[in-house]
């Protein structure tokens, strides 16, 4: 069973418009035809009544003098009225006195109500007028009027009305088809686009805007919605890939020290069982280092995940003061490596989260101490300048540098160029993440004459309004 709502919008529209057209045309035609018929009939009757009365007046003499010829002569006045098919003059006693019979088809003494059977045609209007003289009844005039003239006019009117009605309905259909196109084409287009998105998962699909009307607005809104869905989808995909990569590397890098721990534990147990103690010291050393490495790895990973969860509320930072504090904290490590830090005295101020910026300097400087020293020039330089709305800062070492082909991998999680006992491969990833969420960019270029220069940009304080709170966002 199909209800009204199951029929397509297009068909319903067509039905409605044709229905309205037919009903309107039918009502108009009926009213017009009815009015036309009634009026015509009334006019014809009034006309004939006048005529019959006139003839009655003129027949007075003929009846008074009992002259049938004059009577017949008087009746010929009906000749002026072609629709009068028969007329007669009756005397005072009701006997036929004279007739007007232009068709010569009406037999004498015929019942006037049966005139249609005798003459054919659709119907006759029979009128009678008394002939009187000074209040004395002399006789009567009777005339039969052929109504086919009126009916013919009626049929013509009906025919014309039908033509007009057909034209109206045809017009309505044409109009509805045009309306339909303007309504259903954009609707179908939207449906097809929505289907492409839902069935094929093609989030790049867009509906074509055809008109500037409400459908145009709908199409625009629909496309804007798809834009949002698409960008969210891409973001989701990117995050998912990142997550997959993270899982892969985490599982590898966390497994690696476990292999070491179980391996050396096993070897040490064997050594003890066989009372061989020469390699025991080494085994225990490996065990301790692997456990320590794993601990640092977990700490760093927690730190990295915290950066993604904690909303950064930046503030105006005196970069020089902050860098000087970090350099002072690193003093013992610098002494260990026989290195030093040279700070540019006027580092450009930045608009960033101070805790995070401290971490950026700490990680970059630690990285430089670890991998950028030992080549003779063990001075790590920190500098910067203001460039438009941004501050550009850099940390430069004169160590062995990083070959071009590895430059892209440096910021990737767990990518290490050098195996050092305390490196986890997370430090530079943390730095890159902090710079990214602070609205800056990060990069690496070779130091002229050898070494690596890490640079990053951060917004300048004047570019943004100042706020100074860090809000903890609950972990999901």
């Amino acid at each position: 069973m199909t209800g009204r709502r199951d029929i397509s919008f297009q068909r319903r529209l067509l039905r409605a418009l044709v229905g309205i057209g037919v009903v309107t045309a039918a009502l108009t035609c009926t009213l017009l035809i009815g009015f036309h018929f009634v009026t015509n009939r009334r006019v014809a009757r009034a006309d004939l009544e006048t005529q019959v009365r006139m003839v009655a007046i003129h027949s007075e003499a003929a009846l008074s003098f009992d002259d049938a010829d004059v009577g017949a002569e008087t009746l010929t006045a009906f000749r002026a009225h072609p629709a009068v098919v028969w007329a007669a003059l009756y005397d005072g006693g009701g006997d036929l006195f004279a007739t007007y019979d232009p068709l010569a088809a009406v037999p004498r003494g015929v019942n006037l109500s049966r005139l249609a059977q005798v003459l054919g045609g659709t119907g006759y209007l029979v009128l009678r007028a008394d002939v009187t003289s000074d209040g004395q009844h002399l006789g009567a005039v009777v005339a039969a009027y052929d109504l086919s003239v009126v009916y013919n006019r009626l049929w013509r009117a009906i025919a014309m009305s039908l033509v007009a009605a057909t034209a109206v309905v045809a017009g309505a259909v044409l109009l509805s088809l045009r309306l339909q196109r303007s309504l259903t084409v954009p609707l179908r287009e939207l449906v097809a686009t929505a289907r492409r998105v839902s069935v094929r998962g093609d989030y790049a699909a867009r509906a074509r805007k055809r008109t500037q009307d409400e459908f145009g607005d709908l199409t625009d809104t629909f496309n804007e919605m798809l834009d949002r869905i698409e960008s969210q989808q891409n973001e989701l995909r990117r995050r998912n890939e990142e997550m997959q990569q993270l899982l892969y590397t985490v599982s590898h890098d966390l497994k690696s020290p476990l292999v070491t721990i179980t391996g050396f534990a096993g070897l040490a147990r064997e050594d003890v069982a066989q009372e061989r103690y020469d390699q025991l010291e080494e085994s225990l050393g490996h065990l301790g280092r692997a456990a320590g490495h794993m601990g640092r790895l977990i700490d760093n990973l927690l730190e990295l995940s915290r950066i993604g969860r904690v909303r950064v509320r930046p503030e105006h930072i005196d970069t020089t003061r902050l860098a000087r504090e970090v350099a002072a904290e690193l003093e013992p490590r610098l002494a260990q490596h026989g290195a030093s830090i040279r700070l540019q005295p006027d580092l450009p101020p930045v608009y960033a989260d101070p805790v995070r910026l401290r971490q950026v300097f700490e990680n970059l400087l630690t990285n430089a101490i670890k991998y950028g020293t030992g080549s003779g020039i063990d001075v790590i330089e920190v500098g910067g300048s203001r460039e438009g709305d941004e501050a550009r800062l850099w940390v430069r070492d004169h160590g062995p540098g990083i070959p071009d082909e590895h430059r892209d991998r440096v910021f990737t999680l767990f990518q290490r160029l050098h195996k050092t006992p305390d490196g986890t491969g997370v430090g530079l990833t943390i730095v890159a993440k902090i710079v990214e969420i602070s609205g800056g960019r990060i990069g690496l270029e070779p130091t002229p004459g050898g070494g690596a220069t890490f640079w990053f940009t951060l917004p300048s304080p004047s570019a943004l309004p100042a706020e100074d709170t860090i809000e903890e966002v609950p972990a999901t």
Binding site: Y248, S251, H252, K255, S256, L258, V259, T260, T262, G263, F264, A265, G266, L267, R269, Q279, E282, H286, R289, A290, H406, R416, L417, H418, K419
Partner: protein
């Protein structure tokens, strides 16, 4: 049963601890295998290309290596007409599908995941040297080929 020939392994492994476990496991296997170890991809290719170094019987390859990654080394070895006949066994912590598929696509001879269990690690290395040292030698080179071929 493994008295026919001394096996020479080339161990390409950046992690000192893992290298140490693998080497000690290979050498404690009654027969003392010869193990040469290199710590990264560049050294591995230098070792294999150098004139003076002996040709290894089996290459044990870690995938997660600095400078030149394990997959790249595998591709280069298998593309080199002089080296492609040396069996390469990947020995890695990664049991990811992508790594496995990629390694087999580049004609690795075997793919082994380092177990987080010393006994299984030991067993793995024992089977490794038995398989590549005994079962996999040319028939002419080993007249005393054992009959139970399933290891």
């Amino acid at each position: 049963m493994t008295d026919s020939k001394l096996l020479r392994f080339l161990l390409i492994e950046d992690d000192d601890a893992h290298a140490s476990i693998t080497m000690r496991s290979l050498q404690q296997n009654r027969v003392v295998n010869v193990v040469d170890r290199v710590a990264d991809g560049e050294q591995a290719l230098e070792y294999l290309k150098a004139r003076g170094t002996p040709r290894p019987d089996v290459i044990l390859l870690d995938l997660n290596l600095p400078k030149i990654g394990g997959h790249e080394i595998l591709t280069r070895i298998k593309a080199d007409p002089d080296l492609c006949t040396i069996p390469v066994v990947v020995l890695t912590t990664s049991d990811a599908e992508v790594d496995r598929v990629r390694a087999y696509r580049h004609h690795v001879n075997s793919y082994l995941v380092k177990p987080i269990d010393f006994e299984r690690f030991r067993q793995l290395v024992r089977e490794l040297s038995l398989y590549w040292g005994v079962w996999n030698q040319p028939p002419a080179g080993d007249p005393a080929r054992p009959s139970d071929a399933e290891g």
